[in-house]
């Protein structure tokens, strides 16, 4: 739509006063009727509205000619024959699109996403309609409104009021006759700007649907109401040299002369490639266009464009080319269809480069594709942003480039712009009489407005059963002498990654004995500490040098972690460890992907020599970057070893303190995986079994290190617990232990031990803040602990009693293993601890371990937990007593 609308309907300043009391009563009566109609409409079924819509469409078709005559008589704009077509398109083509669409109740079911989409009518719409397409717009809006069970109050352009009111009457009477609620459509009599402003701010108006110039659109959007504002255009056309010239010229003439160019999607400036420029103009001339010379172009510029505003002159809108020519004193043939004016640029100094809703077309000769695209962009930005653009070309690359650089809701290819944009005739666009122009045009949508813009679409989202996983190494061999199974893995060259002590006590020799006889074996001895970057680099160098096809990691968690990272870098040298360590919330949605392409391949066999970390089956590895003074935690299932050999002969010589530390680490893994938000039946089975084994065998292994069965069961327990936490993750205990252990250089197992009873009490209480989790049904942590207590035969009647028993049993186990009862017992002063608290709490809160904790830890709660651990074990029992049972 057009600038004149803007001038007449919105740019004129509003009178300071609102409507008179009498006028308000009138406007209120319209809203009142519409409100009742909209309310009644909510009870209608799909069948009800479809029946009414069909009758309305038939009435629209029947009255198409009558309404076209009325429109042209009243507005003096356009062509009767074309307006008949418009009315028919607004009825029949729109019907064809909407007839089978559901707009009541459930409109779409998406079972694979567990979603239902349901329709909710908007209620009362206030609709402004234009002078250029008056009756067709009314027919369209009435049909779409009934299909969506809405009531509409129309405010037609004052110069098209009578024909619009007649269209509203025809639609209303037909609709009501077929069952629509009374008052479903009304038409404001003699509407004024003041009336429109009143209605646009009315509390009972749900949506403003403004089809008109930018002023109307701006007024609608400025009202604060939801609005569909659909405004002006300035359609650039690129006639590219590969185009079918005959089709292009005919299509442009069809479009630009249709209803004398009143459709705002019609062509405004045609940019023609130099190579075909002359031929194109000749073809235009042959088919009835008048090509203006320079003098005639100047005359057109002065007359059909307002020199003050730079917009088109209202008197020219919708007039025939020959009539415009006659009026301005331009001599043309009587049957001239189109006036074509060559221009040499875009902007105020080239007046004809703006929107012209009449059969005057600007043409521009472009020397190259880039120049043509630049001019089209300029036209697009000269009042046509978001609206429509057209290209005639057979060059797919140019078509795509045009689509990329032009900002238009509709980019019409090899067809007439105006009719193409209306949809459903030349293409599969949704049929409409309201073109959304996106933010470029000050609109909320770039769509062809139709039924879905007249509906609130409600989505019923059922809880989905999220896919979970249980991923462990392909092969796990366990029990005494399980290392014998190494022989079944052929290898040309194997690198054994281990530490000096293990080589010294003969563990490497044991491994070598059981390998395939023809394997070339090299030993890579690294320090027994969290691996550093330079250690990894040395390992990767060795792997590359020997072109290893197998890596055997023989050692504790650090050695196995080192081997995992060496394998990663050996197979994918481009892997950026820093980037791979990027934080994530959900493994499946993480931003960073681990490399899938591999330049080398090697099997990783993990043989643990401690019973705690479970690194032989986990997808985690920790790397120390001393240069930057930080630790990097890598997590991905591609890091999981291919084979785990859980052979207790390698742990028979573990010292007592290491047995206790690693054993409690194992227990913490199992308990945290057991109550984790990611826990599943699969991980529960592993976690529960590991807990049972730890309570039974850890004290024996600790008290009698050579006890073969106890060592074997603890070694299995560590592996089984790791299978659980590899898939269910750990929790807040680990977050706290990591922070505390790092700050005070306390062994990981000991740090876990000092905190564990307090965390059990914490998780068993009513959370201050629940952790959102699609994996769990309700809060179950306390019940899980009670189940553990039952499994261990600890007694207790209620859940709370059982939790207390579990805490008691855990504390007893810790005492048996000789752990200190409090952080204070480590010799850390209160002041020292107090000073460390902020740093530890920050580190704990940054730690990803707690993300799967059943209870979301608040920062102040982390502080409290640290202090409870500082105070000692009695505090855990006290915590249970103090907190409300779930």
């Amino acid at each position: 739509m057009i600038a004149t609308e803007l001038n007449e309907r919105a740019q004129v300043p509003l009178p300071a006063e609102g409507p008179t009391a009498e006028r308000i009563a009138y406007l209120e009566s319209l809203v009142g009727q519409a409100k009742i109609a909209a309310a009644v409409f909510t009870q209608f079924t799909q069948e009800d509205v479809d029946r009414i819509v069909k009758a309305m469409v038939l009435a629209g078709l029947e009255q198409a000619q009558h309404l076209a005559h009325l429109a042209v008589e009243e507005t003096r704009v356009g062509v009767v024959e074309d307006k008949v077509i418009k009315n028919m398109v607004a009825s029949e083509f729109v019907y064809s699109y909407i007839k089978d669409k559901r707009t009541v109740g459930i409109i779409r079911e998406i079972p694979e996403r567990n979603l239902l989409e349901m329709a909710e009518p908007i209620g009362v719409l206030f609709s402004l309609t234009p002078i250029t397409n008056p009756t067709s717009t009314v027919l369209f809006k009435c049909i779409v409104a009934v299909k969506t069970r809405n009531a509409v109050i129309f405010s037609p352009h004052p110069k098209a009021w009578r024909c619009c009111a007649e269209a509203v009457r025809i639609m209303y009477e037909t609709a009501v006759k077929h069952g629509a609620p009374e008052g479903v459509f009304t038409c404001v009599e003699s509407p004024t700007l003041v009336d429109n402003a009143y209605m646009m701010h009315h509390k009972d108006v749900g949506l403003i649907d403004a089809t008109g110039g930018p002023g109307v659109v701006k007024a609608a959007y400025s009202s604060g109401k939801p609005a569909l504002g659909v405004g002006a255009g300035n359609t650039p056309v690129y006639l590219e040299k590969s185009a079918d010239l005959n089709t292009a010229v005919v299509d442009i003439i069809i479009s630009k002369t249709f209803d004398n160019g009143t459709i705002c999607a019609s062509e405004q400036t045609v940019v023609i490639d130099d190579e075909i420029y002359e031929a194109a103009l000749k073809k235009f001339a042959d088919l009835g266009a008048h090509i203006c010379n320079e003098k005639e172009t100047k005359l057109l510029e002065r007359t059909v464009i307002d020199p003050q505003t730079g917009f088109m002159q209202p008197m020219a809108i919708g007039q025939k080319a020959a009539d415009i020519a006659r009026f301005i004193g331009l001599s043309v043939k009587a049957n001239t269809k189109l006036l074509i004016a060559p221009i040499h640029g875009v902007g105020r100094e080239h007046p004809l480069s703006v929107e012209k809703l009449f059969p005057v077309l600007a043409v521009y000769r472009a020397k190259s594709v880039p120049e043509a695209l630049r001019v089209c962009i300029d036209v697009n930005h000269a009042g046509g942003l978001g609206h429509t653009a057209v290209i005639f070309s057979r060059n797919e690359q140019v078509i795509r480039e045009f689509g990329n650089v032009i900002n238009a809701g509709r980019i019409i290819v090899n067809s007439p712009g105006a009719i193409g944009a209306l949809g459903a005739v030349y293409n599969d666009l949704v049929p409409t009489f309201s073109f959304g122009c996106g933010t470029g045009g000050g609109n909320s949508t770039t769509d062809n407005v139709n039924i879905y813009h007249y509906l609130n679409i409600k989505r019923v989202a059922r809880r989905t059963q999220t896919h979970m996983w249980f991923r462990v190494p392909n092969q796990i061999f366990f029990n005494m002498n399980a290392v014998e199974n190494l022989g079944q893995f052929p290898s040309r060259t194997t690198i054994i990654v281990t530490n000096p002590a293990l080589e010294h006590i003969g563990h490497v020799d044991i491994v070598r004995r059981h390998m395939c006889p023809k394997t070339h074996v090299h030993v890579c001895v690294i320090p027994d500490a969290e691996p550093e970057v330079n250690v990894i680099e040395q390992g990767v160098e060795a792997l590359s040098f020997y072109k290893a096809d197998q890596i055997i990691a023989l050692g504790g968690g650090s050695i196995i972690d080192a081997a995992k990272i060496m394998k990663l870098k050996y197979e994918s040298p481009e892997a950026d460890l820093e980037e791979l360590a990027a934080p994530f919330l959900d493994l499946r949605k993480r931003v960073i992907e681990y490399p899938k392409e591999k330049v080398n391949r090697a099997r990783l066999v993990a043989i643990p020599t401690t019973s705690g970390t479970g690194s032989e089956v986990t997808p985690f590895a920790v790397l120390t970057d001393k240069q930057r003074g930080r630790k990097v935690t890598l997590a991905d299932y591609s890091l999981t070893p291919d084979v785990a050999i859980v052979d207790p002969q390698f742990v028979m010589s573990m010292p007592k303190s290491l047995t206790a530390d690693t054993g409690i680490d194992c227990l913490t893994h199992a308990l945290e995986a057991g109550v984790s938000n990611y826990a599943s039946a699969y991980t529960d089975a592993s976690a529960m079994q590991a807990i049972r084994l730890v309570f039974r065998y850890l004290p024996i292994a600790y008290g009698n290190p050579r006890h073969e069965e106890a060592r074997c069961m603890m070694h299995n327990a560590a592996c089984i617990a790791a299978m659980a936490f590899s898939n269910a993750s750990v929790g807040v205990n680990h977050a706290l232990a990591h922070a505390f252990g790092a700050r005070f250089k306390v062994a990981h197992g000991k740090a876990n031990a000092l905190i564990l009873p307090h965390v059990i009490a914490y998780n068993a209480a009513v959370p201050t803040k629940f952790m959102p989790s699609p994996y769990t049904q309700g809060y179950v942590a306390h019940k899980k602990y009670a189940t553990v207590a039952d499994l261990l035969g600890l007694g207790g009647q209620t859940v709370q009693e059982k939790v207390e028993k579990l805490i008691g049993a855990t504390e007893q186990l810790l005492d048996q293993l000789g752990f200190p009862r409090s952080i204070a017992e480590l010799g850390i002063t209160k002041e020292e601890f107090q000073r460390a608290i902020p740093e530890m709490v920050k580190a704990a809160f940054d730690d990803p371990s707690w993300r799967s904790n059943p209870r979301m830890p608040l920062i102040e709660e982390l502080v409290e937990l640290f202090w409870k651990a500082y105070a000692g074990r009695g505090a855990a029992k006290q915590a249970v007593d103090e907190t409300q049972a779930v």
């Binding site: 909209a38 309310a39 009644v40 209620g123 008052g183």
Partner: protein, 91 residues
């Protein structure tokens, strides 16, 4: 204490006329007016207009109107017509 209460049970077929008649009953100025809508599943424009008139009249007379057995669709319609504030609702 005895209250002066009027009752009305309405069928879908006679809803409009029933509410018009009920409006006249309000002239007797009962303290409370109970309307049973449990048989009403759908209301047309005329019916809704009659309810609106009745509601305004009841407000003028300061009569408390209790609607009983209102189904969710009818309740939603009354809500959209901004009429629920005129009534009390009972099961």
């Amino acid at each position: 204490m005895e209250t002066n209460t009027a009752f009305l049970s309405i069928d879908e077929g006679n809803l409009t006329s029933a509410f018009e008649t009920a409006g006249e009953t309000l002239d007797g100025e009962p303290e409370q007016f109970g309307v049973d809508l449990s048989c009403v599943r759908r209301i047309d424009s005329a019916g809704l207009n009659a309810i609106q008139d009745f509601a305004h009249r009841a407000d003028e007379k300061k009569v408390k109107v209790v609607l009983r057995g209102v189904n969710a669709n009818v309740y939603k319609m009354l809500k959209l017509a901004r009429l629920t504030r005129h009534f009390l609702f009972a099961n």
